[in-house]
Amino acid sequence: MAVEKVFVYNNTSIVQDEILAHRLGLIPIRADPRLFEYKNQGDEEGTEIDTLQFQLKIKCSRNPHSAKESSDPNELYINHKVYSKHITWVPLGNQADLFPDADLRPVHDDILIAQLRPGQEIDVLMHCVKGIGKDHAKFSPVATASYRLLPDITLLQPIEGEAAETLKKCFSPGVIEIQNIKGKKVARVANARMDTFSREIFRHDDLKNLVRLARVRDHYIFSVESTGVLPPDVLVSEAIKVLIGKCRRFLDELDSNHME
């Protein structure tokens, strides 16, 4: 869910209406999009099944209790910084009953939206809708997603003594472990997964031929970060379901074509 429409009733801040609307659009909203429907194209009025309404109404004023000689805006003014915590949810239809304890609000409270000076005010109403990242990145609940292959490090010969220490320093911490066998330092691969493939080892001519760096071709390590809207494990499950949905779409189309 992300802000798609902003109704500006009053905006006397120095942030222009369109810039403000854009900034509001990028704020992640903590609401489970699975509970909502996509809004139909051309549907101007939102309903409780596809729209969430939020209000941002704030006015800056002088702080009557501030010290005379103060020059700190934080002390001089009240409400001079507009944060995402000032956004309040306005339930539509039966939403108040549907989400009795649901905390529908921005994921983060401390996103600075605008700065005001005494007398300036912002009064806007926002409509949040469900969408997909292909249309606009603001709809995507994924912050970063990447994958890498599992590193595979093999020591071709036993590496001992000083060389073992150098070897350890060539890799990320935790990759190489030094064991004491009969008073001798012997290097051992402890956890290849920790490696970042820095390739530092290839700068050491004496060591580079003693180590084989490879990747396990069928072991993928996915890293998924969420914006906070949904937990990352749910994102992965939902992504797989989307791919299944794409297959089903074409299978259904094939079947219906054959029926005709």
């Binding site: 797989i240 299944i244 794409k246 297959c247 074509n257």
Partner: protein, 148 residues
């Protein structure tokens, strides 16, 4: 809100310039009527066959898809030994459709490996999904046990 119907005009052009765009079952004249129907509701899948070839070389036009789906489906279909060639291309970055070509070794119609690829991709997804969900459950249970 911006209102747009992506590539609707484009689609009309595409259909009128491609009399070859026929679906397997209804070749020839009857395809015109089917085309008119297709234009109204947004097409999902089209099958294009060049002149003088039979059903073992077909280009499928998949609408509203990109590398996400194209590449995974190509991977699944390439595993099929009946398939001689399988590849896809994105027609243009601003058009959201892909041309998906399948050429079989001659024995079977191209639509069969296409269908099989789709079903197998669903199976793979379902397997990954169930394994993933089971592992997440196990991990969470394990972590809870550690907390106590």
């Amino acid at each position: 809100m911006m209102q747009y119907t992506p590539y609707a005009e484009d689609q009309l052009d595409y259909n009128s310039q491609n009399p070859l765009a026929v679906s397997e079952e209804e070749e020839g004249n009857s395809s015109q009527a089917a085309m008119a129907e297709e234009v109204e509701r947004k097409p999902v899948l089209e099958m294009v066959q060049a002149d003088g070839t039979d059903g073992n070389c077909v280009t499928f036009v998949l609408h509203d898809e990109d590398h996400t789906f194209g590449n995974s489906l190509r991977y699944m279909i390439m595993k099929n030994s009946e398939v001689e060639f399988c590849g896809y291309s994105i027609t243009h970055p601003s058009e959201s459709k892909i041309n998906f070509r399948i050429q079989t070794r001659g024995g079977i119609l191209a639509i069969e490996p296409f269908r099989r690829g789709l079903t197998e991709l669903v199976d793979v997804c379902q397997h990954v999904l169930s394994k993933f969900e089971a592992s997440v459950k196990e991990y969470k249970a394990q972590r809870e046990a550690e907390m106590d």
